[in-house]
Assembly symmetry: C2
Homo-oligomer: 344 residues x 2
DNA sequence: CTGTTAGCGCCTTCAG
DNA sequence: CTGAAGGCGCTAACAG
């Protein structure tokens, strides 16, 4: 019962109790390629259990030169979009025996930088950066630099969002999905739209809008500039944007928000004004957030397999490194539901 | 440009470039109490930047005997209840300069054990265990043992849920909140209830039910045993339980689910049967999940400040250790909304 | 198959 | 204030 000040038991204690050398104890306990005679192994294992021994992962990391943690960066873990992705990452990491350390950047690119640096300090085996990039070249350049030096140290990187850095990435087909949504809505008979477009600098928001507009154009439908409302990428952003739509008295039959939480905010704003969805206005979103599948009327959206995207990102980052960055494109699936009825 | 195989820069490289000793470089870079002459410090800092040096956190951890990570255990990070708590923990950890490694146990007590063990291996400074305990003495005993040996090694522990282990805990006042909800609903004129009670072994579910029942009793209202429906603690559990209520043809005016996601599932089941809430049946839940605040009709619930609970737990675990476990009780706040109209 | 012995990268007394 | 040297706990050659 070696009781050191910090109370933790060292491998040496185990070895001593088992009457073997440090090396043998190490080999018996922590997966080595080398074999240990059965009776010795047995004694070591027993000693370890008796002492409640747990290897010091830090010491192992410095000795082995690598660690078993991967970092995950998200914009906001409280946002269901990211918590679903996190669930996928964690589940996959678990299967690989990896621990994930999670950082929530609060959508601040500076904190993002700071965290990949911290993760580099942790010698994390890999880092996964989830969430839309922002159109600010200076920040992208800084991130690229930090990522490069992390990779130079042997770290692996994957991104979930846009394909804008030369690393493995799980890319959302935002443009294509916007286009598909437009076609579907036009197919339902809608012709006059407004878009709650989110921040102009956010690529995800922008791509969805661009795709949507392109889809409309392809169908011979136009989207006036004043029908594009900017606001935050959040529930409250959707709420405010819809108020603007109403206040500007835009003559539309359908409003599409660039994500589900905005769409739900928009629906709330409608109700607050005494209007009803879809009777007075149809609403659609993107993502198919699980928790939102039971809102009424049920929300038309473009589904992305968020959890799966998380586990895909992890697999990208544990597998053998490719010669060139791999790109895993994920298509969205249009889900027509009650919030956008046919205008037939 | 000392280019070692693993590409990472060591403190020695920085020292060499700055023309100082290892010790001086260490003191200049990583917060030491000792001061370094300004010009030398300057040179070291410059060298560090030039080389993109980042201290190896593992080496620091083994040298210092402590690390800067805290572990967070949740049942399911995809569940908004836990992602809100996680958001609070992470935000508070961030303020303390701590990194959070997150484990999602999938509600499996065995994995929970395994993770606190892993976190012990990481020499995590603290671990926060969130989520209801289960009434299985054997498992509680094992967890208690693992926790004890983690604490013996100097680790700090906090729990978010019940006060059932001798550690700092953020305790939800589930009984009291159930009672308060009962009183409020009775005050609205309801007398005949059914409870979607979740699993019997889950303390959170059980305490909410018990409190609710107690509140009814205090108001002279009874709750027949067959009005208590067991099911999973999930959206689907709520859905199925409500079907049972309907199939059993229970004559009730109000159904209360032991959490919000179950309540939403119940509302969905109602709609699926062509019934309406609250016209045909009132529904209430617990938690006040953010994402669910825009469902219609808006859901009566008992609000718990989830994020705040997360940050409280973190603060418990970083502050000075108390002589005895501290208990931080959190009261729920009854929020009457549209789903439970007055029967006046 | 086992034990001895260098490291891994950093911190921190201990001399100077 | 600075530098040399030992130690943190573990792994991985290297001998035996």
């Amino acid at each position: 019962m070696t009781d050191r000040l910090d109370g933790s038991v060292r491998l040496e204690d185990v070895a001593k109790l088992a009457g073997v050398s440090l090396a043998t104890a190490s080999r018996a306990l922590n997966g080595s390629t080398r074999r240990v005679r059965d009776d010795l192994r047995e004694r070591v294992l027993d000693a370890a259990i008796a002492l409640q021994y747990t290897a010091n992962a830090h010491a192992q990391a410095v000795a082995r030169g690598r660690s078993d943690v991967v970092g995950l960066l998200v914009h906001d873990i409280g946002d269901p979009f990211f918590s679903s992705i996190a669930a996928g990452v964690i589940q996959a990491a678990d299967r690989e025996g990896l621990l994930v350390t999670l950082a929530s950047t609060g959508r601040d690119p500076a904190r993002e930088l700071q965290f990949v640096r911290a993760l580099r300090g942790q010698r994390a085996r890999a880092v996964i950066i989830a969430g839309s990039r922002v159109d600010e070249p200076a920040q992208m350049a800084q991130l690229a630099r930090e990522v490069a030096s992390y990779r130079a140290g042997g770290g692996r990187v994957a991104m979930i969002s846009q394909n804008r850095l030369p690393v493995d990435t799980v890319m959302l087909e935002n443009r294509a999905s916007g286009k598909a949504l437009a076609k579907a809505l036009v197919g339902l008979g809608h012709r006059r739209f407004a878009v709650l477009a989110g921040p102009a600098e956010l690529f995800t928001a922008r791509d969805r809008l661009d795709g949507f507009r392109q889809g409309l154009t392809g169908a011979g439908v136009s989207l006036p500039a004043r029908h594009i409302i900017r606001s935050d990428f959040t529930r409250d952003g959707g709420y405010e944007a819809l108020q603007q739509v109403l206040d500007a008295d835009l003559d539309v039959t359908c409003v599409v928000a660039v994500n589900d939480v905005m769409a739900v905010g928009a629906m709330a704003a409608l109700r607050a004004r005494g209007l009803r969805c879809p009777a007075d206005l149809a609403v659609a979103g993107f993502d198919d957030i699980v928790t939102l599948r039971d809102v009424t009327p049920s929300l038309t959206t473009v589904r992305f397999p968020l959890e799966e995207m998380g586990s895909t990102a992890l697999s990208l980052v544990v597998g053998a490194e490719g010669v060139r960055p791999r790109l895993h494109a994920v298509e969205g699936q249009v889900m027509i539901r009650e919030s956008t009825p046919s205008l037939g």
